[in-house]
Amino acid sequence: MLKGKQSWVFPTKPVIESSSAVGGPYEAKGKLASDFDILHDDLWMGKDSYEKAHTLLIEEAIETAIQKAELTKEDMNFMFAGDLVNQITPSSFAARTLAIPYFGLFGACSTSMEGLALASFLVDKQGAKKVVTGASSHNAAIEKQFRYPTEYGSQKPPTAQWTVTGAGAAVLSDNADKAGKLVTTSATIGKVMDMGLSDPFNMGGAMAPAAAETIIAHFKDMQLDPSYYDLIVTGDLAKIGQPVTLDLLHKEGLKIDSQKFKDCGLMIYQENQEVQAGGSGAGCSAAVLYGHLLNEMRKGTYQRILLVATGALLSPLSFQQKESIPCIAHAVSIEVHP
């Protein structure tokens, strides 16, 4: 149901039946290693190309999520998934294996919340009984496409971010028994923002205005105060984008406690891991939300969270042609049903 200008509320409260996270070797050394269902100790993951390994990530995440919900692939009405590789082949190839009716999404690193918002809307409007949604990225496959060869010895600036090797997926259902379960309650769809930044090694700085815009729109549409949420988490703004976003929000008069404002890109790795400004990639917010954050909610650490996944909508061609980086952010609120 539309509320305000660009937000949906979900009166039937679609249930997140289960969720899963799959990670790579660098994530296994990170802060959230214990929240992953599967961790690979090698970037190849037994495949003969990084792109095939990327496909495996999303396949495993979706299969694990379905298994944890004690359901089968046949029970799923639809699948929403996306990634960063050209023509989102890893997600589409995973959909081929899984044989679930499929919507391929591209929202760069905001894909995780684009998928969750659409899946929630579909379940809420009785367009589906059970939907699986996920997003993924693979460090070597994405670096190969967007930057230099992985073994090339270029010096990354401190504003650069490290693409997460990981995937996250969740199964949503129209289950009537909601007591104590995780439910999605609302979503805000962001508009594309371009503040003229064009450095692909500073995506956090480029994405910050989009994150701020969506957060402001969410609270305006929902007529809520930021204190409603126990935690507001952005996707992959990292060391530069996160404080910039907080600055922008404070400027707009939105009082957000910096202790309750976190970023997936800053949560996933240890301080001593060489990731420059932090993590990024479509798999970053997906793995942190569907792994760590939902686990914390199940434990009761948080009752209500707002996840704002941010995406930089550039291509290797667009930045070579000196175009600035347009960015987007989508927010979904997840609550523990009383």
């Binding site: 060869p149 992985t150 090339y152 270029s154 010096q155 401190p158």
Partner: protein, 156 residues
């Protein structure tokens, strides 16, 4: 939207963003580059002397086997995943010497091995080094042309 024509709003945001942006530690990077680059050249010099004293090369002819040896070492370091770490530490120090050129060719060849030998390795091997070769050869041509003209005119 071209990055040249920025709206006032965009300029204002850029200012705000600059406050939080982490700057490259330029001086520190220069010092690191100086020492790592210097060390690579020192090794190169040692190899040159090695060829002169043990294989009867002269100072003029020892250059080629030295370069080949340095590139071979860079190839091993790239293959074992060490060169990119040196690169992150040293920056220009490991990019400017011939080993950096070797690394750019070899890393691209490794990266595209999965697309086959012809379209993958062959087609992409010089995607980083190609412009170095092109502009290197072109600038050598221009400099040689200037030198030749100056010689013809009797300036030098």
């Amino acid at each position: 939207m071209a990055s040249k024509n920025k709206s006032p709003e965009q300029k204002q945001y850029e200012k705000l963003e600059q406050k939080h942006e982490l700057k490259r530690p330029v001086l520190q990077n220069c010092v690191k580059a100086f020492f790592v680059g210097g060390t690579i050249c020192l090794i190169g010099q040692a190899i040159t002397y090695f060829y002169i004293y043990f294989f009867h090369f002269t100072e003029q002819t020892a250059g080629n086997p030295t370069v080949a040896t340095m590139i071979f070492i860079a190839m091993l370091l790239t293959g074992f995943g060490v060169y990119d770490r040196i690169g992150q530490f040293a920056g220009a120090g490991s990019a400017v010497p011939i080993t950096g050129f070797g690394n750019s060719v070899i890393s691209a060849a490794i990266e595209h091995r999965t697309e086959g030998f012809v379209l993958g390795v062959g087609g992409n091997m010089f995607k980083l080094a190609g412009s170095v070769i092109l502009f290197g050869v072109f600038s050598a041509f221009v400099v040689a042309l200037i030198k030749t003209l100056l010689q013809i005119w009797g300036v030098i």
